[in-house]
Point group: C2
Chain length 340, copies 2
């Protein structure tokens, strides 16, 4: 068994109260006593029991994140960078980060959220990849459980979030392509229930309108945010004999990377015969052939910042700016850097 506060107290012939207070930095402890306590604690390798502390103080000093996806999804660079940001932020605030996994709108997802809010292994939760009518948001808000999110919903509920103005981003991307003479600009999106899809697709449409290009149903495909999904969707778009697109905008970089492969396999030279662009600005986009034009979002920093917001939320402190909207940065690379 590990050494407990009682052991330290016994050795010093002090009460556990005093030891506890000395260690927690209360100022009603004699300096000399505190010094003795601190030394002894270090010598004996005493660290307070997490569980006991949690039970007594009724908080976990931990935050949680549930990776929204099924096994293949996880290898999404977005998730890993996001987790990295959460992990670092948590560590720097002396918090634990709890991770679980659950496919969106599955029983498993319901179960984890229920367990976490009831059993309270975490003080707050970070949400990502929101859905337009996200039951998680409803549920957490109803139960008054602290949470922050990456993105928003279409529910009439107020909560702190950070989101990218991907709508403007996609409009900008369309303009970029239209400026280079493209007219047949396709879009490969995600399932409609995701907020990100609603936003990006709307941005795409607005971009077309602004450029005076008519929207065409046949130039739109739905995919699942993965490379393979992008590969398949792009394949179908490209195989439409009369309607093959001259440019493809993808809902994220992974989709774009799949699309590039589909185009290559059909003998199209990307950055010459066809333009392809993505969204996220992942590391991978810089190393594709040719390098991929993308809208970069600061995933790591956003995660970091979300943790700060969540902590204020947990502490019940007001959040200066509870609805942060950031502009993605258009990074033009060779995959679209040509005119027709």
């Amino acid at each position: 068994m590990a050494v407990t506060i009682r052991d330290v107290a016994k050795r010093l012939r002090l009460s556990i109260t005093t030891v506890s207070r000395a260690l927690d930095g209360y100022d009603d402890v004699a300096d000399k006593t505190r010094a003795r306590v601190i030394r002894a604690a270090r010598d004996m390798g005493y660290v307070p029991s997490r569980a006991a502390r949690q039970l007594r103080r009724q908080r976990a000093d931990a935050i949680g994140y549930i990776i929204p996806g099924r096994a293949p999804y996880f290898t999404d660079p977005f998730s890993s960078e996001f987790i990295a940001g959460l992990g670092d932020a948590a560590t720097s605030h002396n918090l634990d980060l709890l991770i679980s996994t659950a496919p969106p709108d599955s029983d498993a997802e319901l179960y984890v959220y229920t367990r976490w809010t009831q059993s309270r292994p975490v003080d707050g939760i970070v949400l990502s990849r929101l859905r337009l009518k996200d039951w998680r948001v409803k549920y957490l808000a109803q139960n008054d459980f602290p949470f922050v999110a990456h993105g928003h919903t279409h529910l009439r509920l107020d909560f702190p979030y950070i989101e990218m103005d991907s709508r403007a981003g996609f409009a900008q991307l369309v303009k970029h392509l239209a400026d280079r003479g493209h007219r047949r600009i396709a879009y490969i999106g995600a399932p409609a229930k995701f907020t990100l899809q609603a936003e990006r697709f709307t941005g795409y449409q607005e971009g077309l309108t602004a450029a005076g290009i008519a929207f065409e149903e046949t130039l739109v495909a739905e995919s699942d945010l993965t490379r393979t999904g992008g590969y398949q969707a792009a394949g179908q778009l490209l195989d439409q004999a009369r309607h093959a697109p001259a440019a493809i905008i993808c809902v994220n970089d992974l989709t774009a990377i799949g699309a590039m492969r589909a185009a290559r396999e059909r003998g199209r030279v990307i950055g010459r015969d066809i333009a392809i662009a993505g969204y996220d600005g992942t590391d991978e986009s810089e190393h594709t052939d040719p390098p991929l034009t993308t809208l970069k979002q600061p995933i790591y920093d956003t995660a970091h910042r979300l943790v700060e917001m969540l902590l204020r939320r947990i502490a019940g402190e007001p959040i200066a700016d509870p609805h942060v909207i950031l502009q993605p940065e258009l990074i033009v690379r060779q995959s679209t850097a040509f005119s027709v």
Copy 2:
């Protein structure tokens, strides 16, 4: 405040003992009582408090993993797939997964491991990316703290692990290239302190010997397991006027992807002028241009299996096969599929 066992008991006019036992499936509870308890618990949304349970049972029902890397560079697909496997396995065993981040051999790393072993928020730890003389292994073994690892060390300590026979894998890869007529086969590795580097580099050398090719110092470069690192290292190798390699074997896929870019930028056509291969078999390798030859390791499944081993370790049960060695699978794709 969340609903406690006491609330459930009160509502049913039972003792908390009975409620506890009914819920935990003890067989000395009347079926009718159990049914009532279970219904009431569900209706009231009762979930046992994690902290109380931990304190009482003296275990955390959680396992921990510390991502070995520096922010924000650990968006390594290996890590994310590994975490996905750990997360899924943990969930399926009703465990929490704690994640932290710390650069190898940093103060932060020491601190996290100390805290986790003393404060016991986790019952066991999963280690990855081992070092030849890994202080973590020494530390955990000394403190008799349950752990399992992906890979081994050169320390004289016994612990359960799963590892890939990447040495044989790399030898096989060299043979594959030699069989196609390549002689000037370069190797881009990782820092020498990592076990994976020792293994893979040895495999490379053994492969050369077997193929009757002389080892050349100038064909070896050290990198940092990232795309950018691979890009730079490959650039240097390729710019050696008299010694430019005709094939490059990389310590992992990320490095290979960077190397591909470096080769392309120098006008080399991969899969015709030069062969490039990686290791890991990440999703990304399938979508590069051209698709990347690689040695595939089952990251997700390995993580899953490691959790099972760890659980036995924690329970003090014997592990049937504590030293699992798996063969990576050579996947030949276009990046090397040509003869000279």
